[in-house]
Symmetry: C2
Subunit: 232 residues, 2 copies
DNA sequence: TTCGTATATTACCCATCGGTAATAAAAAGT
DNA sequence: ACTTTTTATTACCGATGGGTAATATACGAA
């Protein structure tokens, strides 16, 4: 709230040796932001708690004021991503529409998530690094996400907006293509997050949709979205 | 060759306390088979060399007769998978055909690889666990695989078998869907490897192909391949 | 000031695990 | 039989890194 440290992006609330009075939650979040970035960059096992602490201008034991263990930090990073995905699914479910419309919204929302750190953590962190308890929660949440894809595809088949196909495999294929974004996407790269999401929504569904959204006029169909200056 | 130990799958050539006279290469391979299975099952960092040795009825230092380090074992597992993929790519390139035909062959071959241990290692192992030297080799090989996808798509667009699209993103989408198989496929599960490969070849290209391979006759198009008894 | 609480630091513990040294026991060569 | 080479074993080292104990410092309240 105060402007003592006005650095651009996700900075440490602990200033080198002065006013370190921030709300507890802000600090917790700062730990998670730093941790998730390092985990993604160096890998979970390649990141020590000293690294995390150092980047925050504190020492390792200070982290234990906010988290009980390293794997708890990992889990909470993961949980934030899951929570955000769930929110999007809820919004989509509430908005209504055909199965295909919902599926496209889910593809766009999920693809955009995959370009964020917390989104990436959903697919790049290894569940085996979690405690048995947290692992169960993670698996359950993943199952729910998978079910959303299957539900929308199944619904689309029933309402006629999606052509009959193997629901399970189609959901796997789409989710796989999207999850993989979390492995290759780099911010400030050639591709914009929204452009990717839009293109994927078209590309992944045109094989499923009964009729293309594009008018079957003159030239062959091409994705509609905004700036798409790739390939030639 | 001899039948002293005729166990079904990838067994240890080191028998508990008796005739341990096998060729060196066979033992090397046995180490890799065991290692890759354990790495996939428990994770690289969750697997100790003692685990690997124990399962082979030997002790840890014996492994160092065949490999210089743990990460060398990881790398060699990876290299076997890469080699097999490259072979398939070479076969496909040699066989000729339209871009779409080549792409479908690549999808099928790559999908089948993703259902094997060495194939999974291509996408589930973390390159950061390798030495700088090996990491470069891995990255280069991955680039080559990606290039094959892009080449076939680009070629298909040029020869008219694939509709114009963003080559880069389409390749990412297809490769992502396929790579993800390495994360969810379980042998002896409900899905057969060949069935998955065939379905993916259809599902991932029907959005790209100018005209469906299926005759647009009576009932809606459904994958052609062999036994495909999933969904209803 | 003084107490209580929250938060940070320094110093340390210790289990794990990759890797090595010294050596024993087979296999292979002569 | 004998030496040599290969391959295995037992015993150990040493770095790494998660986690803890004891303690110091800052903050809010009275």
């Amino acid at each position: 709230m105060d402007g003592s440290a006005s650095s651009p992006t996700g900075q440490s609330p602990w200033m080198p040796f002065e006013s370190r009075r921030r709300a507890r939650d802000e600090k917790r979040e700062a730990v998670l932001r730093t941790a998730v970035a390092l985990f993604l960059d160096q890998g979970y096992h390649g990141t020590t708690l000293n690294h995390v602490a150092e980047r925050l201008n504190i020492t390792k034991p200070a982290l234990y004021n906010y988290f009980r263990s390293k794997d708890e930090i990992l889990y909470e990073c993961w949980a934030i991503g899951a929570e955000r995905v769930d929110e999007r699914i809820d919004e989509i479910a509430a908005a209504g529409g055909t199965g295909l419309q919902k599926l496209r919204k889910l593809i766009i929302g999920y693809a955009e998530m995959m370009t964020t750190d917390y989104g990436k953590s959903l697919v790049r962190f290894d569940v085996r690094d979690l405690t048995e308890h947290n692992r169960k929660i993670v698996r359950l949440a993943k199952k729910n996400i998978d079910r959303a894809f299957r539900d929308y595809i199944g619904q689309g088949i029933r309402d006629g907006s999606i052509r009959p196909c193997d629901v399970k495999l189609s959901a796997f294929a789409i989710a796989g293509a999207l999850n993989w974004i979390g492995h290759w996407y780099m911010p400030n790269g050639a591709l914009e997050a929204e452009a990717i999401a839009g293109e994927f929504a078209i590309r992944l569904t045109e094989g499923l949709a009964v009729k293309s959204t594009r008018k079957k006029a003159g030239k062959p169909p091409v994705g509609k979205c905004k700036s798409r200056g790739v390939s030639r």
